[in-house]
Symmetry: C2
Subunit: 333 residues, 2 copies
């Protein structure tokens, strides 16, 4: 297999393209993960609150479906985390990523067993801490992403993190096409992670209503709830998010707000309830127009990114080269 962009993320993970399929609870199972890895990206298995034995089975299924490297994502703050961590120690997937919390104390033990550890961080402070704890690379995720998010956006955050650490950075949050990929490389990232774009993949088992909600979404279709309890979540603006806002701006308790959330993501993904379920998606959903196979998605991303790289290479503020007009830009978009 010929590798093209060869950087530290490609060398570290062994992927063909430094493009990660973002882990999405209930959404990115063995089928989607293996499809992404088979397409030359890094598939990442989501574990969410999976029962340990289901998680083990999903790792086995993924291995049956691909001989390429893939990752698993552990959510630090979710119930049953320790049991799922045990499964990781037993099954030894190539790459382990962490979300929602500070994974520092788990990094060394996992690396000692030969696994590559790539935590997801929403800030410079956590990036510095993760590097100090021995992380091999980082996924820096901006608040335009879907699901549980931080407060800083991708565009201003990536260069601040790149300037604060030495390990390679994978940019996540707000990326759905090749222009976004090229933009993140301009910011200093050596890889990108896309979640929402892969929801509409034919290999993704999410309910068709969920996929149609992504395709129907515009730039202002999402809302962030949970700010009042310091647990912001981005999802489609619907009856559920309006109910959250009512509670939050009436000073509702942590318990009232958390109770409302229980089971809502599962409803959206599995039973297709997009009115009262939690239809998590990023602000890039407005760029997603159709269902495609994972291979079609990846080929499109690659060729759009290469077009953007070409456009960029033709630009200069200082040597008189001409920039393409917007009309020509469109050709590449």
């Amino acid at each position: 297999m010929q590798r093209n962009i060869i950087n530290r993320i490609v060398e570290l993970t062994g992927v063909e393209y430094p493009i990660f399929q973002g882990p999405m609870t209930w959404v990115s199972d063995s089928g989607l993960t293996a499809a992404a890895s088979n397409a030359g990206c890094l598939g990442v298995l989501s574990t969410g609150n999976m029962p340990p034995e289901v998680f083990r089975e999903e790792i086995h299924k993924t291995r049956d479906l691909t001989d390429k490297p893939f990752g698993v994502n552990l959510v630090l703050l979710s119930p049953g985390f320790e049991e799922r961590l045990d499964i990781v120690f037993q099954e030894k997937p190539e790459i382990v990523s962490f979300g929602a919390g500070n994974p520092s104390k788990y990094i060394a033990p996992l690396k000692d067993m030969g696994m590559i550890v790539i935590p997801v961080v929403p800030s410079v402070a956590l990036a510095v801490r993760a590097q100090r704890a021995g992380a091999d690379a980082l996924i820096a995720e901006g608040q335009e992403a879907g699901g549980h998010i931080g407060s800083t956006s991708t565009l201003p955050m990536i260069p601040q993190i790149v300037d604060s650490i030495d390990i390679p950075v994978v940019a996540a949050g707000g990326i759905a096409d090749g222009r976004g990929i090229a933009a993140c490389f301009a910011l200093g990232a050596e890889g990108v992670q896309l979640g929402t774009r892969f929801i509409v993949a034919e290999e993704c088992h999410a309910h068709d209503n969920y996929k149609e909600a992504v395709i129907g979404a515009n730039d202002r279709a999402t809302a962030v709830t949970g700010t009042s309890i310091n647990a912001p979540v981005r999802a489609l603006r619907n009856k559920l998010t309006r109910r959250f806002y009512e509670l939050e701006f009436q000073g509702a308790s942590l318990e009232e707000i958390e109770t409302l959330a229980i089971g809502k993501l599962r409803e959206a993904v599995m039973t297709g309830d997009t009115d009262t379920g939690s239809v998590m998606m990023g602000q890039c959903a407005g760029l997603i127009k159709k269902k495609q196979t994972v291979n079609e998605i990846v080929e499109e991303l690659i060729s759009e990114a290469d077009d953007a790289f070409k456009r960029m290479g033709a630009l200069s503020f200082n040597d008189g080269l001409m920039i393409n007009s917007q009309k020509n830009l469109k050709k590449y978009a």
Copy 2:
């Protein structure tokens, strides 16, 4: 004057570089505006709630300080807007931009008098409306910007707007260095607008405490208040923003919240009260490390952007070229 990147924004505005200095109430007066225009960018005079005759004087002062084109920004929802609009009709600045609202009905009359109209928009819907109303170009501003903001971030928003209209797009929100400029061009923008970076310019009259607050800020230093009353504002996290949160999450009334805000930006900018004033700045403040002259800032932006363009031109997913390692990227940063 030799122009380098020649695109529709350069041709439309007559600037040397398609870089706008963002209008900032109380901050971007005739001194900063003229300095930005003299450096080859588009200086934009902020009017905020300026008394009409002070506004007229500021236009005259700017004209005394530069023979280059500059813009004025009108805030649609601010008291006295109509009077300031009259001044614009009388003084005919080259470029007029609009913030906080829908300027559609003012566009044709201004263009009929030979002015170029470039509204600021936070969404695809307003972009489409502004183009339909005859806008010459648009400034698409993401929510990572300082001051009054929308809800969508720059990275996912720019390509969605570029795909929805034909007039050129200037990207704003989250940009403070040349990497951010290159990233926005990759997204399809033909220009960029930077506000926060120019606060620390020596030609900017803002209180030194305000400038030090920008230099001291990190990636998570800002907070967004006003969400509960649909008037989000981004500013430095301080006693004032904490007080806003208390009020908002206790279900305070529109009036209570608006009353708290009165005069707070002026306090921060003019008297340097950064504890209880509204110290508006963007999430890119963490990238800003020192005070510089406007010329130094612009030279740095240009050379950083050109370095990023070069890096991008060397990239390809499909023809085996090597990407620079992070260490080399740092050289360019």
